[in-house]
Amino acid sequence: MAILVLAEHDNKSLKSSTANTVTAAAKIGSDVHVLVAGKGCDEAAKAAAGLAGVTKVLQADDAAFEHGLAEHVTEALKSVAGNYSHILVPATGYGKNILPRLAALLDVQPISDVMAVENETTFKRPVYAGNAIATVQSLNSKHLLSIRTTGFAAAGAGGSAAVEKISASGSSINVTFVGQELSKSERPELAAAKVVISGGRGLGSGENFAMLEKLADKLGAAIGASRAAVDAGYVPNDYQVGQTGKVVAPQLYIAVGISGAIQHLAGMKDSKVIVAINKDPDAPIFGVADYGIVGDLFQIVPELTEKI
């Protein structure tokens, strides 16, 4: 049986998390289909068809799917679920909102945050904020997985799958999209950025994040934060890197004024190179950093910005 991947998209373009999820699907089997449920989502469907390894794209185009609400998208998934042995979604806010809803309707216990595929039914996932890794075998008749994007490289271009339009309609449940307020940023998306600079409580205030922005401008980096910085109100929650926020694995991760609580490490320790800047030489962040520098971040960050 084929494997279905639910695409994350904004109708016009595909989110990179979809490409990571396709790679995970290809490790399970060779016939990988992608469902694009949206409104006026031709462009997103075309992008999905161009991903290497995708053999077919299903496009469900209906006003109900415009904003990706779980109640509606679940209906589109349910209408085709019978044809698939596995259904995969990216383990992002989008995917995590939808998959368990579908699972309950199919009477399946899904597996969240899959970071490695052992075989068709056995997967690895982090539990206890990444302090333990569980190897879990699905005994369900159908396997539903959310895929941790950092565990799988993004599928490349070069695919030429056919796009098949399917008719699906939304749910009759009373839920309405009121609005969206996206952080306006010229920067790359946190979860997909090659360089991430994160600030912690050591920054002392939200205003001081401006200092990180200058460095980020120079490196083309995304800006993140520790949970402590979010809890202190310095930056919004969508900046948060960690088990309760986003999981990132960039080429370069620069932790500024972050002590390195376990829950933060769980969100960034798969980064290729980690740099830590902290005044406390005993901060746990130095235990995972490739390069650490002990000192006053208010001197080091501007100097680094100048010299890099």
Partner: protein, 254 residues
């Protein structure tokens, strides 16, 4: 308006999880257990709605060992009115009782209690699944507003602002509905001593999981649980120049 708040007893947020030597799970013997932080936020939100005159009764439900009644009492000390303990001897973190089982039991309780709103944590910090709320909404055929950072109750509906990747989204859901909490929704209060004392005399119903007639055969098999691979610490450099040099010439990432 009646609000139902499911709460879970988990390894305390500040305690580091230790993998059992035999690789079957995480050692929970003789360690501090507490209310799941996201559930605590859910209780706080319900209590705030009651204080604002928008809710009349708050019922907390916990599925777990006998000691989970401490978790219910903790929620009562914050302001919940009544508790239901669904006792099980099975593990509730890894293996044993799974999110789908929990959702099915909660569905039955909701059938009896008929709340107008369910507020619950978006995930428990033990198995980190982030599934139960969405599953419960599906089983009940209710709308869901997950990862909430703001809740405004209207007449027969709720406007909920959600944390999404890259920002915020606002939904309007008709009631009854499921809301799951994210971190920024509120800051839970500390229970004052008189309220802790008062909580001891609030009504708490004891039930056994078997009474619900749900098939709790695990759908997932925990093959093994292991420590994560340790990342090796690197070196400390003395100057910014040395750092720039390392990044350019050794790591080659800039």
């Amino acid at each position: 308006m009646k609000i139902l708040v499911p709460v879970k007893r988990v390894l305390d947020y500040n305690v580091k999880a230790r993998v059992k030597a035999d690789g079957t799970g995480v050692d929970l013997a003789n360690v501090k257990m507490s209310i799941n932080p996201f559930d605590e936020i859910a209780v706080e939100e319900a209590v705030k709605l009651k204080e604002a005159g928008k809710a009349t009764e708050i019922v907390v439900v916990s599925i777990g060992p006998a000691q989970a009644q401490d978790t219910i009492r903790a929620a009562m000390a914050m302001g919940a009115d009544r508790g239901i303990l669904v006792e099980t001897t099975e593990a509730i973190d890894l293996g044993g009782i799974e999110p789908l089982h929990v959702a099915k039991i909660l569905q039955k309780i909701i059938g009896e209690e008929a709340p107008n709103l369910v507020i619950m944590g978006k995930q428990s910090i033990d198995d980190d699944s982030n599934q139960t709320g969405q599953m419960l909404a599906a089983l009940l055929g209710w709308p869901q507003a997950t990862f909430a950072s703001k809740v405004v109750l209207g007449d027969g509906s709720a406007e909920v602002t959600r944390e999404i990747d890259g920002g915020l989204e606002t939904l309007k859901v008709s009631l009854p509905a499921i809301i799951t909490t994210d971190l920024r929704l509120n800051t839970p209060r500390y229970a004052a001593l008189p309220n802790i004392m008062k909580a001891k005399s609030k009504p708490l119903a004891n039930k056994k999981i078997e009474e619900f007639g749900i098939d709790t055969t695990p759908r997932l098999k925990i093959v093994s649980v292991a420590e994560p691979e340790k990342r090796k610490g690197g070196i400390k450099v003395e100057t910014v120049d040395a750092l720039v040099d390392k990044l350019k010439n050794e790591a080659k990432v800039i």
